[in-house]
């Protein structure tokens, strides 16, 4: 009861006129920043951080949290309408969001993303409110072996995300992981894999360069080539009634994905260093695996949009938990929020809930209000996003190319990366022709920088003994599940052959 009373007080803080206005502005700005390829919540929060010094600290963090919420909703928009995941958290949304848009069901995809995000946000808010201190303790028990086991589990789910050709999927995963090691060795600091001795590689290869290259350039070239130059446009109906009908259909067809994404996403988000990208990916993969018709995923399944969106939104709230309770940021965006809190004179940690109760509960209250506003703002802008899709393809295609290059430069600020983006784009076009799945490479480049140091730290802890992963109570079951998932496709491949041989 005490929690409900504190939450009620927090809600009253959140709906004060100034805070309410900041939430509305923050959510709307975040939505558009998130929808722009190359920009994500981290850019929005970082760029608008100085603006927050004009308002009291409580209102400032509410504003930044609203931007964070809006951007998490917005990431799905470019994935669905343009086929370019604007942020790593929205890669999994592309798998079914884009096919739905190409089938003329962009409105349904956008609504499913919005509803999934709302459900994920709401469930995570409830979990956050009720179990913050308890979950913070669980998160602390995750050391390098547990985090590596979790990453291996994420990689294992990639195998299920690729096409039928397992060798090409494994190649794609390894390729993404190797690209993630280019630049400097995180532990020794020595230059590593500086390809062709080009200094541009010293800065490493960003996820965005690969993602925009693959989806913004490669996929678009492939679409233009495969449509044989015929002018095509995606049919997408705009009507308020239709949007309401889609809300019902999203809930009906996507409830399972939303449930999985909401709970799994929150838990993964709580873990330090994990974040919303593995959360969205694992939500997608588990929803696909548990579906009665897994073959429909990747071809335009509503659950394939709702699950990752619920997962990444839930993880975003979850990642706030270690930041507030332990002072450990769970994602790059929360790291900036943490910096902001320190500048405003607030000290994150267990005492924050006692010493600054008004601030903490005002922030938690604002999560609920921001989530509701984000849904409403998102749904009200759907006609605008649909209008983009109704453009003739010969108008939309150059705009996508332009946004890919401009967005890529905005994120990286280096022309070397833009040329690299083109190399990846043309490479992806040819690999696509030979059925190489490239989504695993894109996701691997995001998770590689988490997986490698945790593997090396774990082996250092055990003096090189890999059994460390199987001797700890949390990492052991995760490792076993991951290994089963990796071995399962080979087993499925061999079983029919044995049956045929027996016959």
């Amino acid at each position: 009861m005490e929690i409900l009373s504190l939450l009620g007080d927090g809600m009253l803080v959140a709906i004060q006129p100034l805070n309410l206005m900041l939430i509305l502005v923050g959510v709307t700005l975040g939505l558009f920043i998130g929808a722009m390829p190359g920009l994500g919540s981290v850019n929005g929060v970082a760029i608008l951080l100085p603006v927050t010094f004009l308002v009291p600290p409580g209102s400032a963090i509410i504003f930044l949290a609203a931007i964070y919420y809006g951007a998490m909703y917005g990431g799905a928009i470019s994935s669905i309408t343009l086929g370019i995941p604007g942020a790593s958290t929205a890669v999994a949304t592309t798998f079914d969001g884009r096919p739905l848009a190409m089938m003329g069901k962009a409105r349904l995809a956008l609504v499913a993303a919005a509803v999934g995000s709302f459900v994920g946000g709401t469930v995570s808010n409830i979990l956050f409110t009720g179990f913050a201190p308890l979950l913070a303790t669980v998160a602390l028990s995750f050391g390098p072996p547990e985090i590596f086991a979790l990453m291996l589990l994420a990689f294992a789910t990639f195998v299920g995300l690729g096409g039928d050709d397992i060798a090409k999927t494994v190649f794609s995963i390894c390729f993404g992981l190797v690209l993630a090691t280019v630049g400097f060795d995180q532990i020794s600091g020595a230059p590593r894999l500086v390809l062709f001795d080009l200094n541009g590689f010293l800065g490493g290869i960003s996820f965005l360069v690969l993602a925009i290259g693959v989806y913004g350039i490669g996929e678009m070239l492939w679409t233009i080539e495969s449509t044989r130059g015929e002018i095509t446009k995606t049919d997408a109906d705009i009507s308020a009634r239709g949007i309401l009908e889609d809300v019902g259909e999203s809930a009906r067809k996507g409830w399972k994905g939303m449930s999985i994404g909401s709970f799994l996403g929150f838990f993964v988000g709580v873990l330090p260093a994990a974040g919303a990208t593995p959360a969205s990916l694992m939500s997608y993969a588990i929803t696909k695996m548990s579906s009665r018709r897994p073959e429909e995923f990747g071809k335009g399944h509503v659950g394939g949009v709702a699950a990752p969106e619920a997962g990444n939104n839930s993880a975003s709230t979850g990642s706030m938990l270690p930041m507030l309770t332990l002072g450990i940021p769970g994602s790059p965006t929360t790291a900036i929020l943490l910096g902001g809190m320190v500048i405003w004179g607030l000290t994150p940690g267990p005492r924050l809930f006692v010493d600054q109760a008004d601030f903490v509960w005002g922030l938690i209250g604002s999560f609920y209000v921001s989530n509701a506003f984000a849904l409403l703002v998102n749904l009200s802008f759907i006609p605008l996003f649909i209008w983009v899709l109704r453009m003739p393809f010969t108008t939309l295609a150059p705009l996508i190319f332009v946004l890919s290059v401009v967005g890529g430069y905005a994120a990286m600020q280096d022309m070397f990366d833009i040329w690299l983006l083109l190399v990846f784009g043309f490479g992806a076009f040819f690999l696509r022709k030979f059925d190489y799945p490239l989504a695993p490479a894109v996701l691997a480049i995001v998770l590689g920088p988490i997986a490698e140091p945790t593997l090396r730290q774990s082996l250092l802890l055990s003096s090189g003994d890999p059994m460390i992963f199987f001797s700890r109570p949390i990492s052991a079951p995760i490792m076993v599940v991951a290994i089963i998932l990796i071995v399962m496709p080979a087993f499925k491949y061999l079983r029919p052959r044995r049956k045929r041989a027996a016959r």
């Binding site: 532990i187 070239l221 080539e225 030979f434 059925d435 082996l459 090189g464």
Partner: protein, 167 residues
């Protein structure tokens, strides 16, 4: 497609070997006190890449993949045209950035694509060519405070006017 599949696998195998060679420069073993060396992780991943290309080649021999059974060319005449006109257009767009600025290159690329490739009317093309770069300018430079390349000095008078508006 059949020839393309094995050539692609061969190129990717060479790339894997190159990655292994580069990774080995950082050491691929286990060092007492510091744990796995810097090249350990990328080297063994590149080995995984190489092994995968071996399996792809084996599947090609067995004609197990769709591409290994196909007699179609990788790029037909339309595909070659796409690569030359669309792909070439994108390369030209990026090459122009350092000369005519990011927004200038956007305008030229839109003019090229909408008018020459898309064959749209001037009524659609001209507003897009002038307004879209302006919208991008005010979004990135004004709102997001991200500076884009301004090209050679001859573009300065235009940017002086635009920067006066936002600052």
């Amino acid at each position: 497609m059949r020839v393309g599949e094995i050539v692609t696998a061969g190129v990717l195998a060479l790339l894997s070997i190159y990655f292994m060679y580069k990774a080995s420069a950082n050491g691929i073993g286990y060092a007492v006190g510091t744990g796995p060396q810097g090249g350990f992780w990328p080297f063994w991943l590149a080995c995984g890449m190489l092994a995968s290309t071996g399996v792809i080649a084996f599947n090609w021999v067995r004609r197990a993949s769709a591409a290994s059974r196909s007699d179609e060319p990788v790029l037909d005449s339309h595909g070659i045209k796409t690569m030359v006109f669309v792909g070439g257009g994108i390369i030209g767009f990026v090459a122009l950035i350092d000369i005519v600025s990011m927004y200038g290159a956007v305008a030229i690329f839109l003019l090229y694509y909408l008018k020459l490739l898309g064959r749209h009317s001037w009524r659609l093309t001209l507003p897009m060519v002038f307004l879209f770069p302006l919208v991008l300018f005010f979004f990135f430079e004004g709102l997001m405070q991200i500076t884009m390349p301004t090209g050679l000095s001859f573009t300065d008078p235009v940017y002086n006017v635009l920067y006066d508006i936002i600052y």
